[in-house]
Amino acid sequence: MPSTQRQDLSIAITGSGGAGVVSAGTLLLDMAAELGHYGLMRKAYGPQIRGGESAALLRLSTRPVHCMDDGFDLLLALDWQNTDRFAAEIPLSADSLIIADPAAGEIPAAISQSGAQIEPLPLKALAGETEGGRANMVALGLLARWLGFDHSAAQALIGAAYAGKGETIVSNSLASFERGFDTVLKHPPAQVLSTGGSAAPRWQLSGNEGCGLGALRGGVRFAAAYPITPASEMLEWLAPRLEQLGGSLLQAEDELASINMVIGASYGGVPAMTATSGPGLALMLEGFGLAIASETPVVVVNVMRGGPSTGIPTKSEQTDLNIALYGMHGDAPHLVLAALDTADCVFCTEWAVRLSEALQAAAIVLSDQGLAQSRALIDQPERRALQIPPRSLATDDGPYLRYALTEDGVSPMAIPGLENGMYTADGLEHAQSGKPSSAAADHSAQLDKRQRKLENHDYGADWAETSGGGDTAIITWGSSTGAAREARQRLAEAGHEVRLISMRLLLPASVEAMNKALEGVGRIVVVEQSHSQQFYHYLRAYYDLDVAIEVLARPGPLPITPGEIVNRILQQG
């Protein structure tokens, strides 16, 4: 266990349901927020809805962080019930410290074999010392003190968090917190987080909330959806807010309905979206194809989870890339974007909505469970004015051709209510008027047009986030970005410059931009969280990567860590 002056600390709090580990974790994050720190909190659960083993996995730092660290500095266990189920998610080492109640019994082998130092602490007994005492609050007090957090700020936060639960709960919780705060650990405190707080405005939010906000910023005013883990919170965040913005969210009977409802609303002129996860996306593909063929803008935010099939619904994986890129029948050009971190959930979703509206295109935004359900403490995301025109609307002059062959491929769209714009949108191939046609000339003209409008658009620099230099490049996408960024930084700090290309826009492919980004690169390491190397195959399919390529690909549920990437780069670099 490190002594003092750490910039960065990873803490796991585990215990069974009811013990309040998530609540303690959340409060710890809040406290860090008060002090101007950054952080991230993931949750891990057992298969039970209630009462199951759970873990709050935190990383707190004086600098922005976008991924979990390679290991944990501290594991505080309220009990050991089934903890070994996610021992693999809490990597410990001889440098780590375990705080555990001896009354909770022996430390499971899966944990103790890490060689971590152990500091026994009678958490339950301490909690028992006050009326209605709660071990999680004792733990929170302990950690707050240990991290050097401010005592009264912490008290205020606890008061606010439990305000709705009644007086007794608040006062009991505070009493327990005191007990913990008064307890001095044998192991030296990690003072560092008490210093160096940032004064910059910061946000605390989840990726799901970020996508929701991005959608609203982009102009979405209608959503239809069917609940599914891990996308539901996005919908739950959106429902009341859409309503307050004069829009609405409709809970559909299934995903077939939701995608078609969204198409209907967008056809009606209201920017619309849905959110789902793998199984739901699979059900939406036919409808998504209709949006493409009828050129109705829609956005689907797909929050990836472990697959295939029902898979591992509560864990993260980057394995819906294939279905998002290629899941439609026929030649079906569309947009695929991926959020790189929590803040980027906001930007990326807004961008997707704007692009989809401007290009009358169907867009998929890929997020994942890791991003979506983690709470992040980040710098307030900047609000950029996107230079993207709104949906091109038809005007009331002259005979109207819904699918007119324009130069940029975008045909002005009539919205019901426009007096002379009546047309029939169609998923059948059609002539410019919309009249069904199976003529080769119409087919190829419309295929060209639908491709042209996407490929000719200038996406600018946002196709990827690039940083670093040198002749080794890491190419990654979506949420693996966090770990890759940190790996690049660690390498740079160790005097080893590498480039990082983190792709945000996956379709259409940015071939030229990639070529430029790769100039002078002699070695590429592809990083992704997939067993079958979906991203690697995608890169091969679309980009000219004429140099040695290595692939660091592995499935979930464990997140890719910076250390893993660093090791890989150093192996032969």
Binding site: D30, A33, E34, P201, W203, Q204, L205, E209, L213, L216, R217, R221, F222, A224, R241, L242, E243, Q244, L245, G246, G247, S248, L250, E253, L256, A257, N260, M261, V262, I263, G264, A265, S266, Y267, G268, G269, V270, A272, E286, G287, G289, L290, S294, L377, Q380, A414, P416, G417, N420, G421, M422, Y423, T424, A425, D426, G427, L428, G434, K435, P436
Partner: protein
């Protein structure tokens, strides 16, 4: 119901037809359904641009392109979902949905029962020919069990057909009628009532397919009006539907039930939502 249109220049049904000529087989019942729709729209004097007609896939589902209102020829079985999204987002539009017995009751069955339950204010016309016309004559959910002409079900389906009216009633529709393409004016009148009804109205329009079910050309001799007027009593309606052979026409059931439309208001701003994230 009395409509006040200027008699000197009554709106003509033709005004609701497009320049595209139907590809339906001559003799197909769907022509008359199209006519009934345009007549009803003329009678209601609705502005073309305020009406949307949405459909799925099937011979019947081709109908939107033949009208000059806003149309959407969607995908097979999903027209009601498409329409529900449109209506939720644009409540002021008059929303009509049309499609076949296959589209609406086979692949689209789930959206059908859920649309009935949701009771949004729109009108659904099931152009029922008891067959999949478009794909060359397979049995649909309304096909009699002993119809053996499809190679997919050479012994007949052996299944009791759905009664769309019974399903609609059980699922919660607030207006249920059965019309016949052979009586386009009667059908038009029914459609006017259906469109004027506040809530989800289901009109099953028996519409023979001379190509794959030529025997149904006899329907004109078999179909007759229900003996009773419409009722608002669900139990009575259920009885009448049960007792009937599916060949009586008329408004079967009509009742004022809560119409669903999303609640919406302008009471918030994005800035405000962003504040919630600030630490």
């Amino acid at each position: 119901m009395e409509h006040t249109v200027k008699v000197a220049n009554p709106i003509k049904p033709k005004q609701y037809k497009s320049a595209i000529k139907p590809v339906w087989c001559p003799g197909c019942g769907h022509y008359a359904v199209l006519n009934a729709i345009t007549k009803a729209l003329a009678q209601l004097a609705l502005a073309n641009e305020q009406v949307a007609l949405l459909s799925g896939i099937g011979c019947s589902s081709r109908v939107p392109a033949y009208t000059s209102v806003y149309g959407f020829h969607g995908i097979h079985g999903r027209a009601l979902a498409l329409a529900s999204g449109l209506k939720a987002a644009r409540p002021e539009l008059t929303v009509l949905v049309a499609g076949g017995d296959g589209d609406g009751l086979s692949i689209g069955g789930n959206h059908f029962i859920h649309a009935c339950r949701r009771n949004m204010d729109m009108t659904y016309i099931i152009m029922d020919n008891e067959v999949y016309g478009m794909t060359k004559g397979q049995a649909s959910p309304t096909t009699a069990p002993d119809w053996t002409k499809s190679k997919l079900t050479p012994h007949g389906t052996g299944l009791r057909p759905f009664q769309p009216a019974a399903l609609a009633l059980a699922a919660g529709a607030s207006f249920i009628a059965r019309g016949f393409s052979g009586d386009p004016n009667g059908l038009a009148r029914m459609l006017v009532a259906a469109i004027e009804h506040k809530g989800f109205s289901v009109v099953q329009a028996l519409s023979p397919c001379p190509t794959f079910r030529p025997e149904h050309m006899d329907w004109k001799h078999q179909i007759r009006a229900f003996e009773h007027d419409s009722t608002g009593d669900a139990i009575l309606a259920a009885q009448r539907i049960q007792a009937d052979d599916g060949q009586s026409t008329g408004i079967i059931y009509q009742r004022e039930l809560p119409v669903w439309q999303p609640i919406t208001r302008n009471s918030g701003s994005i800035d405000q939502f962003e504040q919630e994230f600030c630490v």
